[in-house]
Symmetry: C2
Subunit: 128 residues, 2 copies
DNA sequence: CTCCAACCTGGAGTGCGCTCCAGGTCAAGG
DNA sequence: CCTTGACCTGGAGCGCACTCCAGGTTGGAG
């Protein structure tokens, strides 16, 4: 039942206030409580949604897909299968992303090793 | 000495033809050879630059920084230190990126485990 | 020589995910 | 009360990295 002021919610979630408003505007975050005067009051539940959104975004899920997930969750129990599958598909993409990142990181490291061996008898520099 | 037509270069590099032209326009790719009539002819050297650009982009380097790197390389031998440092700083950022991705992937997996335990005596679903 | 698919240019348009702004309202401390 | 900093709304603007377009040119197959 604890309520958080917008600035506090922003601080805790790591999203900017503008981003929180934006997420509400596009329907990603729905039914945010308000004071009588119309100011937002975020709940712990809102906060845990934001934690999830951060996770999904950091792993590269497009906002449209997060909206889809959130809409399914709001629809109720009968969407759990679809929600699970959505997350599983995403997880598979993240795995692919991690493999690619690792591979390219290795290339980068190799490139750096090339530079680190330069000072000394300079080998033919391909300048790439 | 082998030369590649634009379409072939696109195919080999994985960049679109428009992107290759764009990279040239912004000065990322410089001095691309032309036929008498003005059509581009890509060399193996151009291709290896493109391979590097792909590596840097896949690891999240902004184009402006790639331009900087390319400009340094064009300037000659005396920029090797700066080039190495640029790549090293980038590699450090990639490491951070990989750690974050792994961490959020773990969260995601946990979330999925939550869904996988659902079918059975349904525990209190927090719907997050 | 003719044809047409591939290519050229400059510049406008796109999609994403915010971010900023103007002009007004709210609410807690003094 | 009064002040003032946090908050509100709708909508415009931005930065990035392309992507697309119109209108014209090139060059290799037949």
């Amino acid at each position: 039942m604890t309520g958080y002021a917008p600035a506090e919610a922003a601080r805790r979630s790591g999203f900017s206030l503008d981003t929180l408003r934006y997420y509400e505007k596009i329907g990603l975050l729905a039914d945010v409580n308000r004071t009588a005067g119309g100011q937002r009051v975020f709940t712990d539940d809102d906060l845990s949604w934001l934690v999830l959104f951060r996770c999904l975004r950091d792993t590269g899920m497009p906002i449209a897909q997060m909206c889809r997930y959130a809409a399914l969750a709001r629809e109720g129990e009968h969407t759990v299968d679809e929600r699970r599958e959505l997350l599983q598909r995403h997880a598979a993409q993240v795995e692919e992303q991690m493999r690619l990142l690792q591979r390219q990181y290795d290339h980068l490291r190799e490139k750096i090793r090339f530079y680190e061996r330069l000072p000394g008898p300079t080998p033919p520099d391909d300048d790439r």
